[in-house]
Symmetry: C2
Subunit: 326 residues, 2 copies
């Protein structure tokens, strides 16, 4: 079996919903080899006309909030009750340092992993956030072309990747625990402002009344923010993944959001804006990759950086000198 | 009088503390003309050995919090009671849209403007945030070389420029009003986390008890955050610019911060890190300036952007095509 297929083989396999080919295509877009990147771009572009017909849902929350358990339960609900085909993509910027909270636990999302209507794909550890978000964006396209109509992009709510994920999804869901101030949960405060909905997890047993109180509190807090450009007022709900309670209500919230934003054209506008952001990010990334991989820059950067660090030369003078090399 | 001086004239004038030359040198670093930029870099580099010996204080707060009045009073206090030479630099990213809240009012900081120990310089309107922060960084260097030992960098607390200012100062002071939730004050929540101190303004008359209550509240909120890398626990104080109350206490807070961070070496470490951030930002900016000013890129960007926007081609494919042009 060849290590790489032809563009046509990738394309046909993806469009036929072949999961092995889809997996390999994602591996291809994750590769940093120039030849792989070129091939990946051919594949992306050839499936692009068949992509875009999905709802893209970003889900975040700090470690311990029960993301895996929630996505297992919510994903199974979406497949079983809403008859959707679901792809789950994960971004874990902390994996390099922490050993990979998303990847580390191989047993996460056990039942989704083997569900024929689901496709679960974690991001590889040890890549830069920029690289991971780039390949995740492209993986969304590939999954959509392969027929997945619901995409969940999962990230760890520690503040690095949420903005990136927010820029690639239609709907952003924040998972929170009851009974902990948001400071204590380590949620960067700006993240709450990005949420289209908050779901308070583990709302079962003795935790139920705390969850309900938290719901009222968050609802109040969210309504202090000015109304978003979408015209959507963020919702707060409680749920229990283990008791399968509240999943339906979260799905209805997402549906209501889609109805509103497709009606008022915000949905389409947002996707177009995201495409533009994606272009400018790609240009910036391409420029920097080319610059920092230049041999002369590599040779001189350390020395120049030390000069700047010690205050012996100014950053702009140093940057100008380095820019002359390429 | 020539429009531009020689590098030597700028350098000598600045080092002699000549305010006219200093002003003109700042105008030079603000210029976007390539010949000016080259000259500016020569000047920056020749005064660099004489710069750095100041405390750089960032001050932010939403419009209406009383920034100008506070800086007038606090600046006068610093000069009169602490015998400092003060430069005030302002960044106003909103000026392009709003008509310039910092620049618009020519009568702001009336007494500081004419104080021989002070130098007040607003940033020009209509430039990109990147351009403004770049020239502000360079203006700090110039002011320090001209003998100003205290630099205040002022910005409007609406979330765009605070991170940039935070990356160029030693100490970050957030001004807040009593009696308004921080949501209502329009302060981006992340900004509070950057503050080394919060000063509650207008703590006088009937407002005094509200200000004291707010102080307790913010102090509590700040202490929920994990301790900063500096080892510094952010302070909260109340002040009245019109009654000249609490200014001394804010200065003592800054002094205590400096003592702690110079002792534990965080001060020096932070400045070195800031220099490095500045280098990477300068490289990024230089790369993008060169790219977007390329004639072929200019000609093709709009068309390519439209293709990406409509989903006809992928961002990375498009970026790669554009990157081939330069």
């Amino acid at each position: 079996m060849p290590k790489r297929f032809s563009t046509e083989t990738y394309t046909q396999g993806i469009l036929a919903g072949d999961r092995v080919v889809l997996s390999r295509a994602i591996t291809l877009v994750e590769s940093r080899l120039p030849s792989d990147q070129e091939l990946a771009q051919e594949v992306i572009n050839s499936v692009l006309p068949y992509a875009g017909h999905s709802v893209r849902i970003g889900i975040t929350g700090v470690p311990g909030v029960g993301k895996s358990t929630f996505i297992e339960a919510f994903g199974s609900y979406i497949i079983k009750e809403q008859h959707k085909k679901l792809a789950v993509l994960a971004i874990d910027p902390s994996s390099q340092r922490s050993g990979g909270s998303i990847l580390g636990d191989k047993t996460r999302m056990k039942s989704l992993s083997v569900n024929p209507q689901a496709f679960v794909r974690p991001s590889p550890a040890g890549k830069s956030l920029g690289g991971v978000t780039r390949s995740t964006r492209e993986a969304i396209i590939l999954c959509e072309a392969a027929g997945f109509d619901t995409i969940i992009v999962e990230t760890v709510g520690v503040g690095q990747s949420e903005t990136a994920v927010h820029a690639m999804v239609d709907f952003f869901l924040l998972l929170m625990l009851a009974g902990a101030g948001d400071e204590l949960q380590g949620i960067k405060r700006g993240i709450m402002e990005m949420a289209d909905a908050i779901a308070i997890t583990k709302a079962d047993g003795t935790n139920l009344s705390k969850a309900r109180a938290a719901r009222a509190e968050y609802l109040h807090a969210l309504h202090l923010y000015p109304l978003a450009a979408s015209g959507w007022a963020p919702q707060v709900s409680t749920c229990s993944a283990v008791e399968h309670i509240g999943l339906d209500s979260i799905w209805q919230t997402i549906t209501a959001y889609l109805e509103l934003t497709q009606e008022n054209n915000y949905f389409e506008q947002k996707r177009r804006n995201q495409n533009m952001q994606w272009l400018y990010a790609a240009i910036q990334q391409g420029l920097e990759e080319r610059f920092y991989s230049n041999q002369q820059v590599k040779e001189q950067l350390q020395n120049v950086a030390d000069q700047v660090k010690e205050g012996h030369t100014s950053a702009f003078k140093a940057a100008t000198e380095l820019l002359k090399l390429v």
